[in-house]
């Protein structure tokens, strides 16, 4: 007896890029306040289909839910090559093996795989703007201000869990420049073992208050400004900030540059609003002394952020793909690498250096991808194969590797105190053709530090792309390896702790434990 043979099973119309645990955005929107213990972790995958990367997860209530994760599988795969070992962390509660996200109710859990690179302290919920896309939902109507002693207690708790050193402290909010005790806070934190302090601001006070500029100038060796700057168009300003406040931004940049305060322009970019202004922001930074960095953040849907099409949005790799077309080829996605210490999907970074011929060149183009990986020890096989023609002595290699890892880390910025030695090692040992930098970095002449600072301010630019996750793009592994931690307060014990940034912004029960909301009290209105 013969049986007819069928055609067999067809191939899927997608390729699984990697398997992930994710969450259902529809369940989240139906009940954003649900207790974290009731949040379901769902099986899913990143699927490459039609030249894009989609996050697909199976929800018992809604079935298969598909959202756009990233625009370019090619660039995402490239980024995944850049991973390095992570640092040990100190859990906030010993024995906390609860699942994500409920584990974060008790701070960093045992299963976190990265320490705190950046500690973000929300000083207050109050702001002098009511930005339509604010993830923290701050506004002038909110008056909750964290007491100075609570902020310092939170910082000291973190210091005790980070072996006596915090790499980066970011002061945020709300609008941190409106914090009534900011001067006392800056004095207190600069007296602690904190490498760098960043102030995350809209720039309104910087544009108008001479005394405040003086305060920043006084602390400029340790303090850097992250200035929200969304591009050149009035449309971008109105969309993201609710008004055309470009003149304040321009004035703030001029005043910070004149005061020699290292500034990073932080751009919130949205598809169809200002995704064509990324090149402008980079050029503005290249042309302005002491604007040492640009951070491009694709808008994400936590907090007040809404109106994002989850099936067609600007993503990490989308920003990278747009660089070449918008900078006339001056910067391309190959000039950036993933930040080796973080999850490769979470951040990419690149350095541009102006050489003695006045041309901007990237660190990766000067060193070469293969050599960079070799120095970072990311490709042991490649290293083994090149032992014979390796021209860098082993001791030098170790120094260069550590320097590069420092440079390509969340803690890095041009005002970092160890920058001189980092550039010295890289410039002197790697023959980058950056003669003046190398000479200055290796010289020990009087006034060398100030000259190096000014040279870095004019001739080095750090470009980063930082895509934060909302529930449409949230995957567990990125939370687990997150190193940007928001200070929170335990709802039951009042203990100071912290939790990954994207988790705090996305889940309301965690958001309510931010230090400004949990310990905040109405301000008296007096500024001391």
């Amino acid at each position: 007896m013969s049986e007819s043979r069928g055609s067999g099973m067809p191939l899927r119309d997608y390729r699984v890029h990697r398997y992930v645990n994710a969450f259902c955005p529809l369940c989240h929107e139906e009940s954003p306040d649900r207790p974290l213990a009731e949040v379901q972790r769902l099986s899913g995958w990143l699927a490459v289909r039609d030249g894009r990367v989609w996050l697909e997860r199976g929800c018992a209530t809604h079935g298969l839910v598909r959202t756009l994760y990233d625009e370019s599988p090619e660039i995402l795969t490239y980024l995944e090559q850049w991973t390095a070992p992570t640092k040990v962390h100190g859990p906030d509660t010993t024995g906390n093996f609860k699942p994500v996200p409920s584990a974060y109710e008790d701070g960093l859990p045992q299963m976190q795989t990265q320490h705190t690179c950046i500690l973000l302290e929300d000083l207050l919920d109050h702001c002098n703007l009511k930005c339509p896309t604010c993830f923290a939902e701050s506004s002038p109507a909110l008056a909750s201000v964290a007491p100075l002693e609570s902020v310092l207690a939170s910082i000291d708790t973190r210091l005790s869990r980070e072996n006596g050193r915090i790499d980066v402290l970011m002061l945020s909010g709300g609008e941190p420049t409106l914090y009534p005790w900011l001067e006392e806070l800056l004095d207190a934190v600069t007296a602690r073992p904190i490498v760098r302090i960043l102030i995350n601001t809209n720039g309104l006070r910087i544009a108008q208050d001479d005394a405040f500029i003086e305060l920043l100038r006084r602390h400029r060796e340790r303090v850097e400004v992250y200035l929200q700057y969304d591009g050149e168009s009035a449309e971008a300003s109105i969309h993201h900030r609710g008004a055309d406040i470009r003149r304040f931004k321009e004035r703030a940049i001029e005043r910070l540059s004149a005061a020699g305060v290292f500034t990073t322009l932080t751009m919130t970019a949205k598809l169809g609003v200002n995704d064509d202004e990324i090149g402008h922001v980079i050029k503005r930074a290249l042309d302005t002394p002491y604007v040492g960095g640009v951070t491009i953040q694709p808008v994400f849907g936590s907090g007040r952020g809404s109106g994002i099409d989850p099936l067609d949005r600007l993503t990490h790799t989308g920003v990278l793909a747009r660089l070449e077309g918008q900078t006339g080829g001056q910067v391309t996605w190959r000039d950036l690498t993933a930040l080796p210490c973080s999850h490769p999907h979470c951040c990419s970074v690149g350095y541009l250096l102006r050489d003695d011929a006045d041309e901007w060149r990237s660190l990766t183009s000067l060193i070469g991808h293969d050599r960079l990986k070799e120095w970072l020890d990311l490709e042991p096989d490649l290293l083994a194969n090149r032992i014979a023609d390796d021209t860098i002595p082993a001791a030098m290699k170790s120094i260069v590797k550590d320097s590069l890892l420092d440079l390509l880390s969340e803690q890095s910025s041009l005002s970092h105190p160890s920058m001189a030695s980092i550039w010295k090692d890289i410039c002197a040992n790697c023959d980058l053709g950056i003669g003046t930098l190398a000479t200055l970095a290796t010289s020990r002449l009087p006034g060398q530090r100030e000259r190096l600072r000014s040279l870095l301010g004019e001739r080095v630019l750090r470009v980063t792309v930082k895509p934060f996750m909302d529930m449409n793009t949230m995957i567990e592994e990125r939370l687990t390896q997150c190193c940007v931690h928001v200070a929170t307060v335990n709802a039951e014990t009042d203990a100071h702790q912290c939790a990954p940034f994207c988790a705090v912004q996305a889940w309301a029960p965690l958001s309510r434990t931010r230090i400004s909301t949990a310990t905040g009290r109405p301000t008296t209105g007096s500024r001391s």
Binding site: G6, M9, P10, L26, T61, H62, G63, L64, D276, G325
Partner: protein, 109 residues
Amino acid sequence: MSDPTLDPRIVPLDDGPPTATSASAATPFDPLRLCIFATVALLGWLLGPIALAFFAALGAVGYARARRAGLLRSKCLLGDTRIVLAYLVGLVALAIAALIIGFGPWRIT
């Protein structure tokens, strides 16, 4: 299970992971492109340089936007989107010249 028409993020079952039913019921090939090619040829025959100017300008605008949005290489044989743009702009110029001077296989009578 919610109504799949409510939210575009919810994937209908026949568009999701293949099931035994959807696998065995393979859709016959739809030769749509052949119909499109014939229609484009018809328009070219009827309208000549006007059709060329229209489609080349449309293509140039489309490629300019795509390049601005980050497309550096196209699946087009010419590869680099700058070369494709130059080709399309050239076609527009050719079509305008043909309309003004009246050369080529098509004439305004």
